[in-house]
């Protein structure tokens, strides 16, 4: 009843269930004189950490895909009459006859110079293959991530502000249900309902692909957008719950804050208290979450791309795995993981700029 509420402890714990940026609690007290110069040091630390992660990914990607059963050479020659000598020649061509450690050092040496090797099945440099498919994936997942992050932030804010009400329970219930749905299953369902059509409902959207190929200019943009609807809808439905829940919990932690009482006492409308005071504080832990979402732009839609025959990296990865086309899947894995590492790094670097309590 007196000033017993000490939301600080709760609020500090709200770093986020996924991953926190730099600890806020450590910076809550008056900063020492050194914190103003701490940012360059902090940046260096984060860059170093990201570099170590990338190296770990490099190593993992090499060994991970060697565990996959199946011999690339016999898959590729499947059905064709080949002699043992021809198989051996192919192995030699791909460097698969060398001892594992030598393959590994060759792979690392090349990867560090930016050469990801040559695809077994497409006989083209992996880097080029990735670059041709990358735009389609970035378009699909980029649109989806932006939509589901915004949707999650908006619904999470609404949910927390009317915490425990019907809207909140409905909101979180629906989000959690959709989160639990497998994306490929939802994608197939949407194709059946909206592409094939059920009963009187005609097929409204194409079943797959990125464009019909017979349009140019503005009509082409509309065509691509038309093709985007269902895969984006699938990704958004399955993905927005995470952002919603993080935003909701971090706003709930702020709602006991004394500074909100101050804001109300000033005569601000409820919406202004929320928008100007509560949300900026609650956003801090959520920013990390949004960047993790952005990290998914490269590799986040393998299943959905496959279901919708989207000509992106996901489909390419799927093709590579079935051989297994080792240089291709290694390269793709590096790109997927690299995108995540870079976005995490950006989140870490941005965080101190958003929260004035963290030294910069």
């Amino acid at each position: 009843m007196s000033t017993a509420s000490t939301p600080g402890a709760v609020r500090d714990a709200a770093g986020g269930p996924v991953k926190t940026g730099p600890s806020r609690s450590a910076d809550r007290a008056d900063p020492g004189p050194g914190t103003r110069t701490a940012y360059p040091l902090y940046v260096a630390g984060r860059l170093g950490g990201a570099a170590v992660s990338l190296l770990a990914v490099l190593v993992t990607s090499f060994f991970l895909f060697r565990i996959i059963p199946g011999d690339p050479v016999s898959t590729m020659t499947h059905g064709a009459p080949t002699s043992a000598a021809q198989l051996a020649a192919l192995r030699k061509q791909f460097g698969l006859d060398l001892p594992l450690w030598q393959q590994f050092t060759d792979y690392c040496a090349k990867a560090l110079t930016g050469d990801l090797g040559t695809s077994y099945q497409f006989h083209a440099p992996v880097g080029e293959l990735i670059m041709t498919k990358l735009p389609a994936t970035l378009l699909l997942t980029g649109v989806a991530v932006v939509i589901y992050s915004a949707l999650g932030l908006w619904l999470g804010t609404r949910s927390a502000w009317r915490n425990g009400g019907l809207g909140d329970r409905l909101n979180t219930g629906v989000a959690l249900t959709l989160w639990s749905v497998p994306s490929f299953w939802l994608g197939l369902l949407l194709i059946i309902v909206f592409s094939v059509g059920i009963g009187p409902v005609p097929g409204l959207f194409p079943t797959g692909g990125m464009e019909s190929g017979d349009t140019t200019g503005f009509a082409r943009i509309l065509d691509v957008a038309h093709h985007l609807v269902l895969p984006v809808l699938t990704l958004v439905a399955v993905g927005y719950a995470q952002t919603l829940l993080v935003m909701r919990s971090s706003l709930l932690d702020e709602m006991g804050g004394d500074y909100l009482t101050t804001a109300r006492a000033k005569g601000l409308r409820d919406a202004s208290v929320r928008r100007r005071h509560a949300v900026p504080n609650a956003l801090l832990p959520t920013v990390t979450m949004v960047f993790i979402n952005l990290g998914h732009v490269a590799g986040g839609s393998i299943l959905v791309e496959t279901v919708f025959s989207w000509p992106g990296l996901g489909g390419l990865f799927y093709q590579g795995l079935s051989v297994p086309d080792l240089p291709l899947v290694q390269g793709l894995f590096l790109v997927f993981a690299g995108a995540m590492i870079v976005m995490n790094l950006l989140a870490d670097l941005l965080y101190p700029l958003l929260d004035p309590r963290v030294g910069r």
């Binding site: 007196s2 017993a4 000490t6 500074y259």
Partner: protein
């Protein structure tokens, strides 16, 4: 709940001070929750503050003093039920429409919260936070808002350049000055200061008190100051009210209440703070036995009787209303004024 008879002493005292009260609280009751689980936090409080007057409210944590402060601008959570009247310049805050209430908040009466830690928003610059109510209530331009913030900062003894600082870059005392500057932003006629010096060290505490005193005197603002520290209140305020279990149990001129309280709780509270140059107060037992009463399960009769060193049998049975206890003073104790009822024995 049985309605306590209104003590005539308080009403006369308020009337005696003449001028129409800037703030008049009549029979204010605040209850949290409803039905069987209802917890009374404020149980019928009458208070008045005139322009330029300084009233202190003292009491231990849980006595309802902060609930009272928040009730003045209807800042309590929606689970709180309020009844009675809170007249601010003659207008009842409790019956105001939302729009009118928002207009009155901060412009009519503002609050100095215990700003040392969490009452300022950590992600906004203090200049923006000070200017915010000016932009809101006066529809000032951003430039005018900044100018006003700079002016207010200088008034509270901070360099105007500090407007660009974030709260965590200031010391506790500086933050409290910012809270005061913010409270003055719209020239309110009443300032409520809720534990304004708690969590500050003694030297800073004295500075802040002098600052509040000076600003209130300069601008003829009414001040309602809330604290657990009777010494701080006696030092700053003209009048003192002592609160116990949601009620005023003693009211009177600050010095008189501090030096010679009529109510045993008032005496215990003032004995809890040793006085400089008075060895007796340092040797006398200062504590008060027992815990503050649980508002959900208040003792029968006078709520203070289980802890009272001079309780009579009647105190356990009968609620004690405020009685007149000298000129401009009142206290809610059976031993005040009237003689002890016949046949009553000290317990």
């Amino acid at each position: 709940m049985k309605r306590a008879p209104r003590a005539s002493g308080v009403v006369e005292a308020a009337g005696a001070r003449g001028a129409p009260g800037l703030l008049e609280i009549r029979d204010l009751r605040v209850t949290y929750g409803s039905g069987a689980s209802a917890v009374p936090a404020v149980r019928g409080v009458d208070l008045a503050v005139g322009p330029g007057q300084k009233l202190g409210i003292a009491g231990e944590s849980g006595c309802g003093k902060s609930t009272l402060a928040l009730a003045l601008l209807r800042l309590l959570p929606s689970s709180a039920r309020l009844s009675g009247e809170i007249l601010l310049d003659g207008e009842d805050v409790l019956t105001m429409k939302w729009g009118r209430l928002r207009a009155v908040r901060w412009a009519g009466a503002s609050i100095v919260f215990q700003g040392a830690m969490h009452s300022l928003n950590a992600v906004h610059r203090i200049g923006d936070q000070i200017a915010e109510p000016v932009l809101l209530h006066r529809r000032a331009t951003p430039a005018a808002g900044r100018a006003r913030a700079a002016e207010l900062l200088e008034q509270v003894g901070l360099p105007a350049a500090r407007a660009d600082a974030y709260p965590h870059e200031l010391s506790g005392g500086q933050r409290q000055r910012v809270m005061i500057a913010m409270a003055l932003a719209c020239d309110p006629r009443l300032i409520v200061a809720d534990e304004p010096t708690t969590a500050l060290d003694v030297m800073i505490q004295a500075q802040i008190l002098r600052l509040i005193e000076r600003l209130v005197a300069e601008q003829d603002i009414g001040l309602l100051m809330i604290s657990h520290d009777l010494a701080v209140l006696a030092d700053t305020c003209d009048r003192l009210a002592v609160m116990y279990a949601g009620r005023i149990v003693e009211e009177g001129p600050a010095r008189a209440v501090y030096d010679a309280a009529e109510h045993p709780y008032g005496r215990a509270l003032s004995a809890a703070f040793p006085r400089i140059g008075d060895p007796a107060s340092r040797r006398a037992p200062r504590g008060l036995p027992g815990d503050p009463p649980d508002p959900a399960a208040l003792p029968s009769g006078c709520t203070f009787h289980p802890r009272c060193p001079v309780a009579l049998d009647v105190c356990e049975r009968e609620d004690q209303p405020l009685r007149e206890a000298g000129p401009g003073r009142s206290a809610a104790c059976v031993r005040v004024g009237a003689a002890v009822p016949a046949g009553e024995q000290p317990r």
